[in-house]
């Protein structure tokens, strides 16, 4: 494996790993806050147990999120030192604010996890909410950094020099709003569906139905609301991409030739050599409409992009189809769920609906990974769009392939241990929370 490819793969692996834990870190505190609130208000012990059970899982995810994030902050330099030398001072603003957000999160987490029975109940509850709010803030801030790579601003690029740096303008770049909105919703949708699905599975297995059904309800409400909003925000993102990164739009839509009233390509296998898409369904005019809000307008194709600046097509196109497909599936399931809540309450306990939620456990997270693949691969060959090429940013250090193998092994084993631990947590639920006589003070 050549070093450049290894560096890219290692970066993608580390981010793809971290993003799972950060989604959970951003969203689970809100689920816990709801359960915690219901316990403090209504006094139903189930909700207290639920909060505790969740908080143990979250502690595990937080630790992995924190260490993988620490790794990332070094990896940016270890893999892309030339990029960081120029970019650091410009896109550093969100990172330095993010530092504060992380810190507050870590402090609040200490209070929350170890604070049972030590503080005023509402102060304890409040620390849980702070964990969530600062997690959300850090997610939004770090996406600002990525958005800046897609839409560089806040400096003048003159003869290879980065002049008149304005870190605040760099932070509020063009892409931030659409990306941060879409990412935040994605975190809620992905975590909501995954958690709801796991508890649905337990209900189906007739284990602690009382406990798991309540858990399912909380997670499902968050997840489904986000899943309905997600395609709307995705459409907003797509229009934004069409405006600022026509090459990325063309790649993700496999749109090779510039044309008026461009067709939307559904599925299919892009053939990059022949510049066509095989086995696809085409909807005339739909791409023009989705990208520019009008069926006639011209959509820039890859033929307008210089060959050296063209991103790969197959990967972004397939990843985009996957994300949108999963998004549609999740939205459909969400609408079904709302209908059940509103008109058909007995569906909520019906096996078929629960089974659909079980099937959706991985959907959100697969969509998150696919979406990031679209964003990052679609930006290639640029690390900083239009300014610096990824190839020029890579570290001169040889042998990165070994470091890639090493990190792959580490992340793989960590994932296995986390799954193993979660399995054990869930298995212990009956023993911990079902027979109060045995548990005593716990």
């Amino acid at each position: 494996m050549d070093d450049f490819l290894a560096a890219r793969s290692q970066m993608a692996l580390s981010l793809g790993f971290h993003i799972i834990f950060s989604c959970i870190g951003m969203v689970m505190p809100f689920f816990m806050a709801v359960a915690h609130y219901k316990w403090l208000r209504g006094g139903d012990e189930t909700y207290r147990n639920l909060t505790k059970a969740w908080s143990k899982g979250v502690a595990i995810f937080f630790a992995v999120g924190a260490v993988s994030g620490t790794v990332l902050s070094f990896e940016l330099g270890l893999l892309w030192p030339k990029f960081m030398e120029h970019a650091g001072p410009i896109f550093g603003m969100p990172f330095s604010l993010e530092g504060t957000a992380f810190f507050i999160e870590a402090i609040a987490l200490g209070f929350f996890l170890y604070g049972w029975g030590r503080f005023h109940p509402w102060f304890h509850w409040f620390t849980g909410v702070v964990v969530g709010v600062s997690g959300l803030a850090s997610g939004i801030l770090v996406v600002a950094a990525n958005a800046w790579m897609n839409s560089p601003s806040g400096f003048d690029y003159v003869n290879g020099q980065y002049l008149n740096v304005d870190p605040v303008r760099a932070m509020f770049n063009d892409a931030w709003l659409s990306q941060a909105l879409h990412m935040t919703l994605a975190a809620f949708a992905a975590t909501g569906f995954a958690v709801a699905g796991v508890h649905a599975l337990m209900v189906l297995k007739r284990r602690n139905i009382h406990f798991h059904f309540r858990a399912f309800q909380i997670a499902a409400v968050f997840g489904t609301v986000a899943a309905v909003l997600q395609p709307l925000s995705g459409d907003f993102s797509a229009k934004d991409v069409a405006r600022r990164q026509p090459a990325k739009l063309a790649a993700m839509e496999a749109h090779f030739h510039t044309e008026k009233s461009a067709a939307l390509v559904l599925g299919g296998l892009p053939n990059e050599k022949e510049q066509r898409v095989d086995y696809a369904i085409k909807i005339p005019g739909a791409l023009s409409f989705l990208a520019h809000g009008n069926f006639e307008q011209e959509v820039t194709g890859l033929d307008r992009i210089p060959v050296a600046d063209r991103p790969p097509v197959t990967v972004p196109h397939l990843a985009f189809q996957l994300m949108v497909g999963l998004g549609m599936f999740m939205m459909g399931l969400a609408l079904l769920y709302f209908w059940a809540l509103w008109r058909r309450p007995h569906w909520l306990r019906a096996d078929w609906l629960l089974k659909l939620f079980v099937a959706a456990i991985p959907a959100g997270f697969i969509a998150v990974e696919a979406g990031w693949t679209v964003t990052e691969v679609g930006r290639q060959p640029w690390i900083l769009y239009g300014i610096m090429r990824t190839r020029d940013a890579v570290t001169p250090m040889p042998g990165i392939a070994y470091s890639f193998y090493l990190f792959t092994a580490v992340y793989l084993s960590l994932s296995l241990v986390v799954i193993f631990l979660l399995y054990r947590q869930i298995k212990m639920v009956p023993e911990l929370y079902d027979r109060p006589a045995l548990v005593g003070a716990a």
């Binding site: 270890l78 030398e85 992380f102 250090m397 960590l414 631990l421």
Partner: protein, 347 residues
Amino acid sequence: MQYVVIIYLCLAIWLYLLLGGADFGAGIMELFTRSKNRSAARQTMSHAIGPIWEANHMWLIIAVVILFVGFPRIYGVMSVSLHIPLVVMLLGIIARGTAFVFRHYDAVKDRMQMLYNRIFALSSAVTPFFLGVIAASVLAGYVNPAATDFLTAYVWSWLHWFAVAVGAFTVALCGFLASVYSIGETHNEADKRYFIRKTRTMTIITFLAGALVFVAAGFEGIPLGPWIFGNWVGSSAVGLATLSLGGLFYAVSRGHTVLPRLLAGFQVTMILLAIGYRHFPDFVVLRHGSNLSLLRDQAPAATMQALGWALLLGSIFILPALYYLYYSFQHEAEEVAEGTTIAAVRK
């Protein structure tokens, strides 16, 4: 504003060594405790660092962020020349953080615990060792960004006796901090005496490791002696640190708990001051050419301005909250009970 940023960088490094260091020390002590006492030591430590370990390690992130935002060249050169020790340190951070949390939150307490314990203890030593190696490499003057052959550019930059000695010294220092810290966390006389004995041993080991650093520096031709003792700040810092050791032992033997911690912190601070004073404003000493300096190799002024404000603003939120966190968990011992209950139910 540049001085605000530099002060925060120093603050972050200092606090990381003090707080994170005590935290690493907890694991190091496990490594060097006979199995008879291990479980008691582990309970004491685990309970002491549980609520605060995440916060302790945030100082490293703050330092890194300050480096890459405010001093991008320094971050760049270190990332390239010290790639290998940085990766090893990162692996240590991963292993340690996860093993600590896994052993606490594994719902079933079985043989897996032994695995977590091993990994935790080992990585607690590996991580500060390589932190020390990195710190030493920054000072030693073997970093050579112009080098083209692999060994000179990426290996000899950090693999030399001075770095090894500083690594060992850092490990010893962490163990020392942890042993002093634990004295105040014990709940019975026997444990307390045990940690007092530990503190004595660790002090001697740290002292020897410190001497070794000077030997290694002499061997490598690094003028460490003149750097530290060539000015009154450095020599008085070392003098005060040595003097306060006497105070430390006196305070420990009188059964004080807070005073020894302050004195131990004071000693570490003096060591950092002695090294840092002469070194400032240089950060990385290079083999050829001019060193990388905190005053010269900065980000553009607008960035330093924004970074300074971000740090000041951040501390308004962070410092009071952090203080309250430490304050709240000063003398508590309940959470451990929960784990035991789970194990009991299991049986």
